[in-house]
């Protein structure tokens, strides 16, 4: 059966001949739907945003893999395969949420949410689509550089593990590994905050000074504010933030208006948790949705310098990337390029990045830091000094890519903006992994807000969507957007390199936490703009976590057929009748208590009902057979490259 992807209906409006991959196509799409429906939807959106032609999709229920061919005018088609698990022969049926359960995302998200729970976003699916597309682009670059590469493989499991790689590192570090379980702190104690008049909002500051002044203004003792600061700093590393009750109580006695005034006078940033509808009404929102998560600006490359010489079997081997990034998004982008073979030169301040010393440690380095930076060459440079800036220009002169994630306007202040670097290297791809989608401070959504994950979640509607779907007041303290932003940045750079190879152009690629948020909710924006280009997969009939005799399982039944299989399996296993919708599905809770989670997963797997053990301790992941090919044990458990090429 041939199906025209719904996302491509009316695609003439989305087809832009001037986009980064105009003239390229994804063809020969074969899907063993519905396991891959959400991934396919995001793949179509991303491909169309890049200007690619998208062929028809053939439904092949018996296939084990989702497959397509990545075509360019100058290369042989690259066979791209997306599997559920690393081992394509493992057929256990999956859904977005069972994959989140199996790979530990629910556990990380649940640390601040009271219990293991799904993100209520098509997160793994979106990541998988981005990595699959990037794999095709990278393999095409490999071909253009003389490498014999014809296929690229990724799995949903590898994408899911990649997203929690830092947290796995923290949980498995050889020195004082973190033991953080879902619900280890009360959800009330974690941000976001709620004002007297019921407004839910995020606060942000990168310095202790504003934090101290802010809480003092609200009548909180310095001692409590200090303990709150320690907790507040934990958010990015540990996905939890156990604030003292004194802070939560104090802030609940003031209106949002008053709190915003205190923020203005103390230097704190504040952002209400907005809905996707509110975000859709912003001036820039529709443009970002239509453009896709990257902004490319290409110019002819008069020098026509070829990419650096290939040095191994990996498609980006020999390509030189200079990275000046801190924290998560930018370093992850550099890490992904290194996994594709690039030589990444990471600029750190004299003495090294302080985060190298952030516990827990493994062999003398922060495990969490090493998880993102272990493949890079380090150069210690004082970027604020004229001498340091000269050193960076020298590096950029010989590089293929320059990547930074500095605050808006800083590149210009340092005289290291695109104009300065491309003047000395016209072939350079100048990449910016931003917070708010632009390097022009005046154009930021709010130039007073730091472009950090939780502020972007609040502003973009992502936190609001999670809160609405989960019936809570909060988004996630899992760094959803930093990780997706890092993937999108690396993907954009790879696309820009491909364009450079094919068309002898160079230029700029900008991506951001905000554009990643838009990508993550692309289906929702399509609906909000009444475009109906994308037909999102329907809501599942059963999508729940059940306690069992030992452990928990996530079960998802997309349609009535699956529900019937589940009921029949339960009846056969338990030897008793099991009712259906007349009484809802709440009675299933008692039934699952009769077996362990492992036993149920095996029983339901044999009946082709998607189910997974909910992993609560990330240290357990490397003991799971299905995930072992994606992990490398050692001084901490490392997540392997999501790609394999042949």
């Amino acid at each position: 059966m041939l199906i025209r992807p719904a996302s491509m209906e009316g695609n003439r409006n989305m087809n832009h001949p001037d986009r980064a991959l105009s003239g390229c196509a994804i063809t020969g799409l074969k899907s063993p739907a519905p396991d891959f429906a959400a991934m396919a939807s995001s793949l179509f959106y991303q491909s169309a945003a890049l200007g690619m032609e998208v062929g028809s999709i053939e439904s092949c229920p018996d296939n084990a893999v989702f497959s397509f061919e990545f075509e360019t005018p100058l290369t042989m088609p690259v066979a791209c395969r997306v599997t559920r698990w690393h081992d394509a022969s493992k057929q256990a049926s999956v859904t977005e949420n069972t994959m989140q359960a199996a790979c530990g995302l629910m556990s990380v998200h649940g640390r601040a949410g009271g219990k293991s729970r799904p993100l209520d976003l098509r997160y793994v699916s979106t990541l998988t689509a981005a990595l699959a597309l990037q794999g095709g682009a990278a393999a095409s670059i490999g071909q253009l550089r003389g490498l014999s590469v014809s296929s690229s493989n990724v799995s949903m499991a590898s994408a899911a593990l990649l997203s929690v790689g830092q947290y796995i590192a923290g949980a498995t570090a050889s020195e004082s590994p973190e033991r953080l379980s879902p619900g280890c702190v009360p959800s009330r104690a974690c941000p976001p905050f709620t004002s007297l008049d019921g407004v839910v909002f995020e606060l942000e500051t990168l310095d202790a000074g504003p934090w101290k002044k802010f809480w003092s203004e609200l009548g909180v003792s310095a001692a409590a504010a200090g303990k709150g600061w320690t907790a507040f700093l934990m958010r990015y590393a540990k996905a939890m933030s156990p604030l003292p009750d004194e802070l939560v109580d104090a802030i609940s006695h003031f209106t949002y208006h008053h709190i915003a005034q205190v923020c203005a006078s103390t230097g704190m940033a504040i952002c209400p948790v907005r809905s996707l509808q509110e975000r859709a009404g912003d001036d820039d929102s529709r443009h970002i949705w239509s453009q896709g998560p990257w902004e490319f600006v290409f110019e002819g490359n008069p020098s026509g310098r070829p990419l650096s010489r290939i040095t191994s079997d990996l498609p980006l081997s020999g390509i030189i990337v200079v990275e000046s990034c801190r924290r998560i998004q930018g370093p992850l982008a550099g890490h992904l390029l290194a996994l594709l073979g690039a030589e990444v030169i990471r600029i750190e301040p004299p003495g090294g990045d302080p985060l190298r010393g952030m516990p827990p440690m493994a062999e003398g380095c922060s495990a969490r830091f090493d998880a993102l930076n272990r493949l890079k060459t380090i150069r210690e440079i004082d970027i604020k000094s004229p001498y340091g800036q000269t050193e960076i220009k020298e590096l950029a002169q010989g590089a293929d890519v320059f990547l930074h994630n500095w605050a808006p306007g800083k590149a210009l202040l340092l005289n290291l903006d695109e104009e300065a670097l491309t003047a000395i290297n016209p072939s350079l791809i100048y990449a910016y992994a931003a917070g708010w989608a632009t390097d022009r401070p005046a154009l930021c959504p709010s130039n007073s807000m730091p472009g950090t994950d939780f502020m972007a979640q609040a502003y973009s509607g992502v936190a609001g969507k999670i809160a609405e779907a989960s019936g809570t007041h909060c988004g996630s303290l899992f760094t959803i957007l930093d990780v997706l932003g890092g993937v999108v940045s690396a993907q954009g750079i790879t696309v820009a390199l491909l364009n450079r190879c094919m068309n002898n152009v160079a230029g700029r690629v900008t991506s951001s936490l905000m554009s990643a948020a838009t990508l993550l909710c692309a289906d929702d924006f399509d609906g909000l703009y009444n475009l109906s280009r994308i037909s999102p997969p329907p809501q599942s009939m059963i999508d729940a976590i059940y306690a069992t005799r030992q452990g928990k399982i996530a079960v998802e039944c997309r349609d009535r057929k699956m529900v019937t299989r589940l009921v029949e399996t339960l009846e056969a296993t338990l030897g008793a009748g099991v009712g259906m919708e007349e009484e809802g599905f709440s009675h299933l809770r008692d039934l699952f208590l009769s077996r362990t989670a492992d036993e149920w997963v095996q029983i339901l797997g044999e009946a082709d009902v998607p189910a997974a053990v909910v992993i609560e301790d990330l240290a357990d992941l490397h003991g799971i057979e299905l995930l072992q090919p994606g992990l490398s044990p050692g001084s901490y458990t490392k997540v392997n490259s999501p790609w394999s090429f042949k």
Partner: protein, 91 residues
């Protein structure tokens, strides 16, 4: 006033790989100055221009010194001074 100082891994090359050292001082600054005498190079890793680096957290027992008297936070016998790198913000 002897206090125990917990040394983070990243500074241990400067302290002969010791995880904890006993140092005497009446406040945090004095302890750091004393450490500098015994383990040259420590001071510049912790402070500049009279202030703790933004990316370093110093705790006396469980209290962040920024929320007490900063480097002048007083110490008493047996206190624990912990040095930890800080992370503030994503992106």
């Amino acid at each position: 006033m002897p206090v125990t100082v917990n040394i983070p891994t990243i500074l241990r090359p400067l302290t002969d790989n010791q995880k904890r050292v006993e140092i005497t001082g009446f406040n945090v600054l004095e302890v750091i100055e004393q450490m500098e005498q015994q383990y040259p190079g420590v001071r510049e890793k912790l402070i500049a221009e009279g202030k703790a680096h933004r990316f370093i957290n110093l705790y006396v027992n469980d209290d962040d010194i920024r929320f007490r008297e900063g480097l002048l936070t007083s110490l008493k016998d047996g206190d624990l001074l912990t040095i930890l790198p800080a992370v503030a913000g994503g992106c």
